[in-house]
């Protein structure tokens, strides 16, 4: 009994932090439609600044708690600056470019924290007056946690007052429900955006500052919090702060009791399992409302852009170079080219989903990784020769794409993205925990090409053949009746179904093709690296593939390989020359996004797209 009560209180306490982070994320998404990856970084900054300020400000307890408040306000200010100086410049591009920008900010801020505070783990000073605990039944409950349990609901009440009792709040809610309405009300949209960004960042900073006395400070705090915050927001319903409260309480309690009752294998995915189940049964989250729109989830779909065809001579020239040049290159560049080929195919498959299908996947790495594991397992557990394993590897990805896709295509917009993320995390957890089959977190080793293909150059030509076939297939699909129909479903799904097109079946087919090709990319990759590891299925790889597609531009299938080559080249050059590669890479990405707001490919394609855009 005591256990249940305490676990309940513990779950609620954690829920309060989740709520603070998630409500900020939800508000920002609701009004600006930005998926703010940097929200976790704001949380981390809040925690670090709070620890420093609380330690140096005079005045005992007063100074300490003033420090927490000041830290959260500093984060709010930073959020406002980010909106004013960076995001504002690219509101006219597709919403995904804002996402790429926030991803770049995550990299920059992680290194900024490492540079400023140092890489070592830290523990903030304990909270004066609240560092002890109170006896509850026969156990101790920390007084600080009790204070949080009181503070959380008051912040929620304050938010409620702000949203429902002030003019500004009414505007926020109106903007969340319907973007166009704000313009109609004669409000300066840009100030609403800045304001909501400041408020959202403040909530993240506040959560970080308040969490500081309970949690060690590390440079990975950002990533520990952001994924769960997204889950909370989605489970509750995007854009609904009270959905965020409900989602936070659900997840807080689920985690607290999951520790007690669920087997270990479930712990690392429990929140993603919950998200998957909620989205399968309630495709708009628990308190979210389905939007009656022909154009997906509240405008959060890629721009409907004119598809730039295949630049024949350029592709031919590059193919010729790829065929003839490598024997002249130093070995490392041959290896690097194989890696680029693997990612080019992987990114191009995502391109088919996003560019042609309008389906934004946040979990595409699952199919890349499963292609890698598929090949490794056929070879090691199945005892098949390497070339056969190479051919069969992508089938594992295809199978997973068929099954996961079946559920995903019932959703659209950001909910589709989140369900793909949930499935990817589930796949990640399976390969991470199934020690007997997959080797768990140590991965599968010794996955090298057969001896006849083992030299870098020979394997390169195999990769070129496979990657070339994959890319040509994707190019063919894009220009095929299926490709045209897929773009039609993206442009107007309801028009399409009223023309006898089974929209979901086509989306599922596209999802499977993309999964298969991503899997082939993974298969190429696994024999380059000699092993399969759970990281291949992780969130960072999914985000990287998105970054590649966006860097290249969504207008043409050829954007993705360009983006992949550019990203990997930058990454390789930067990581080998500086320890602060995250800051350098992030900085360059920011510059690229600001200079090429439609991607490098979009810029090269020139006037074929945006002009006279239909969204106008």
């Amino acid at each position: 009994m005591t256990l249940l009560l305490l676990q309940f209180l513990t779950g609620l306490t954690n829920a309060m932090f989740l709520f603070l982070v998630a409500s900020g994320l939800s508000l920002i998404f609701g009004v600006t439609r930005i998926i703010n990856f940097a929200h976790g970084s704001f949380f981390m900054l809040g925690a670090y600044m709070a620890a420093s300020l609380a330690a140096v400000l005079p005045g005992g307890a007063g100074g300490y708690y003033l420090g927490l408040l000041l830290a959260s306000l500093a984060v709010a200010l930073l959020g406002g600056l980010v909106e004013l100086l960076l995001l504002r410049r690219i509101y006219r591009s597709a919403p995904l470019y804002q996402l790429l920008l926030t991803f770049a900010l995550v990299l920059v801020m992680a290194d900024a924290v490492r540079l400023f505070w140092g890489p070592e783990n830290r523990l903030g000073p304990p909270p004066p007056g609240l560092s002890g605990s109170l006896p509850i039944l026969d156990q101790q409950f920390p007084t600080y946690d009790l204070a949080i349990l009181l503070l959380g609901p008051s912040v929620a009440a304050g938010l409620w007052w702000l949203l429902y009792r002030t003019r500004w709040g009414i505007l926020i809610r109106a903007a969340t429900a319907d973007r166009e309405m704000v313009g109609a009300l004669g409000v300066k949209e840009s100030w609403l955006f800045t304001g909501v960004f400041v408020l959202g960042s403040w909530l993240a900073g506040l959560a970080g500052a308040l969490q500081m006395p309970r949690q060690a400070l590390t440079t990975v705090l950002d990533s520990t919090v952001i994924a769960e915050a997204f889950v909370v927001v989605v489970v509750g319903g995007m854009g609904s702060p009270f959905g965020a409260l409900l989602g936070a309480v659900l997840i807080g309690l689920l985690q607290a009791f999951g520790i007690l009752w669920l087997p270990r294998e479930f712990h690392m995915v429990i929140v993603f399992l919950l998200m998957a189940i909620v989205l399968i049964f309630r495709p708009w989250g628990l308190l979210g409302r389905p939007l009656q729109s022909d154009r997906g989830e509240g405008g959060w779909v890629p721009e409907t852009s004119r598809w730039a065809g295949n630049p024949g001579w350029a592709a031919g020239g590059i193919a010729l170079l790829l065929l003839l040049l490598p024997p002249l290159l130093p070995t490392f560049f041959v290896w690097l080219l194989v890696e680029i080929l693997a990612f080019a195919l992987f990114a191009a498959s995502l391109q088919l989903l996003i560019g042609s299908g309008g389906m934004i996947s946040f979990g595409h790495a699952a199919y890349f990784g499963l292609g890698a594991y598929g090949a490794a397992l056929w070879m090691q557990q199945g005892g098949l020769p390497m070339p056969v394993a190479f051919l069969l590897g992508p089938l594992a990805a295809l199978g997973a794409a068929l099954i996961f896709g079946l559920f995903c295509v019932r959703l659209s917009g950001v909910y589709f993205a989140m369900l793909t993320l949930a499935f990817a995390q589930i796949a990640y957890a399976v390969v991470h925990q199934w020690y007997d089959l997959t080797g768990g977190d140590n991965g599968l080793l010794g996955v090298w090409p057969a001896s006849a293909l083992a030299t870098p150059l020979r394997y390169y030509y195999l990769a070129l053949l496979a990657g070339g076939i994959g890319l040509a297939f994707l190019g063919r699909v894009t220009d095929s009746p299926f490709g045209v129909t897929l773009r039609a479903t993206r442009d107007h799904a309801r028009r399409c179904e009223a023309l006898g097109v089974n929209v979901r079946a086509h989306q599922l087919l596209a999802f499977s093709v993309a999964g298969l090709c991503a899997g082939l990319g993974g298969t190429i990759f696994v024999f380059l690296k000699g092993g399969a590891f759970p990281d291949y299925l992780g969130i960072p790889v999914s985000v990287e593939s998105l970054a590649m597609v966006l860097l290249g531009g969504m207008q043409s299938l050829w954007g993705a390989p360009v983006g992949a080559a550019l990203y990997l080249f930058l990454d390789t050059v930067i990581t080998r020359s500086t320890g602060y590669w995250q800051a350098a890479l992030g900085g360059i990405l920011i510059l690229l996004v600001l200079s090429f707001p439609r991607g490098v490919g979009g810029w090269l394609a020139g006037k074929t797209s945006r002009e006279g855009s239909p969204d106008g």
Partner: protein
């Protein structure tokens, strides 16, 4: 010719939340007739269209088409049975060319939309051009459709909707947002094609001149129910319609 029953809807109901958009509505369409559906804003016209095409599923009621039950079928199956539609807000595929817009419909008719290894450009091109020629868009076939004028978009929609030679054509405000001259030109085009092909048409329209000029019969709906039905002359003379609709500011 006007006696064969083509479509029958019985006791259709559809509610959104607490609002009953369609509430026990009945509708009978005879083969070959051109029927106008009128009613004030929010009367349930678009909801009825969505129910007929399967894009909404009715809470209650039954829809029979050529004697066959179609309520509950998904939209793509209903389309194959011969019901085609246009949308109130133009719904072209913005990133495709004018020609490709028609091609999608033809590909769908030929069940070729899943083919991945053929080249779309070669499939059904001649037929698509012919379809475009019928609505006077042949010279614009290669243009991206987002550069089209509003009137041309409406024609394109018509071409797309006609591509599978439907039995029943649903037009949701075919002339909304057009200049008066363009309207009569478009309706003349519709009338000509309808006559050529012997189509049955159900259309909604705000412009009463268009309605009374084009419709064989008129159904008036109000608050999700049928208020009156009859020839244009009968409707014009109906006191309740006058009171609730024509007189009530809908005009």
């Amino acid at each position: 010719m006007a006696d064969e029953l083509l479509l029958e809807a019985r006791g259709l109901c559809k509610a959104f939340g607490g609002v009953r958009a369609v509430d026990g509505l009945c509708l009978h369409l005879a083969r070959g007739e051109v029927r106008a559906l009128i009613g004030p804003n929010g009367a349930g016209k678009t909801t009825l269209f969505n129910l007929l095409t399967g894009q909404l599923v009715c809470d209650n009621g039954l829809i029979l088409f050529q004697g066959e039950r179609i309520s509950g079928l998904p939209p793509h199956r209903i389309w194959r049975k011969g019901i085609s539609r246009t949308f109130q807000i133009t719904a072209a595929f913005q990133s495709l060319s004018v020609l490709e817009n028609v091609q999608v419909a033809l590909l769908s008719r030929d069940r070729a939309t899943h083919r991945m290894l053929a080249t779309a450009r070669r499939l059904g091109q001649e037929e698509a051009v012919r379809q475009l020629a019928r609505v006077g868009l042949a010279d614009q076939a290669e243009r991206p459709c987002f550069v089209l004028s509003y009137g041309d978009l409406k024609r394109l929609e018509l071409a797309v909707a006609l591509a599978n030679r439907p039995v029943l054509l649903l037009l949701d405000e075919p002339t909304a947002g057009m200049a008066p001259q363009e309207r009569s030109a478009l309706m003349a085009l519709v009338s000509r094609i309808v006559a050529e092909e012997g189509l049955t048409v159900l259309f909604t329209e705000h412009d009463m001149d268009v309605v009374f000029a084009a419709a064989h019969r008129i159904t008036v709906i109000h608050q999700g129910r049928t208020l009156a039905e009859g020839t244009p002359e009968a409707i014009r003379g109906n006191a309740r319609v006058q009171e609730i609709y024509l007189g009530g500011g809908g005009g």
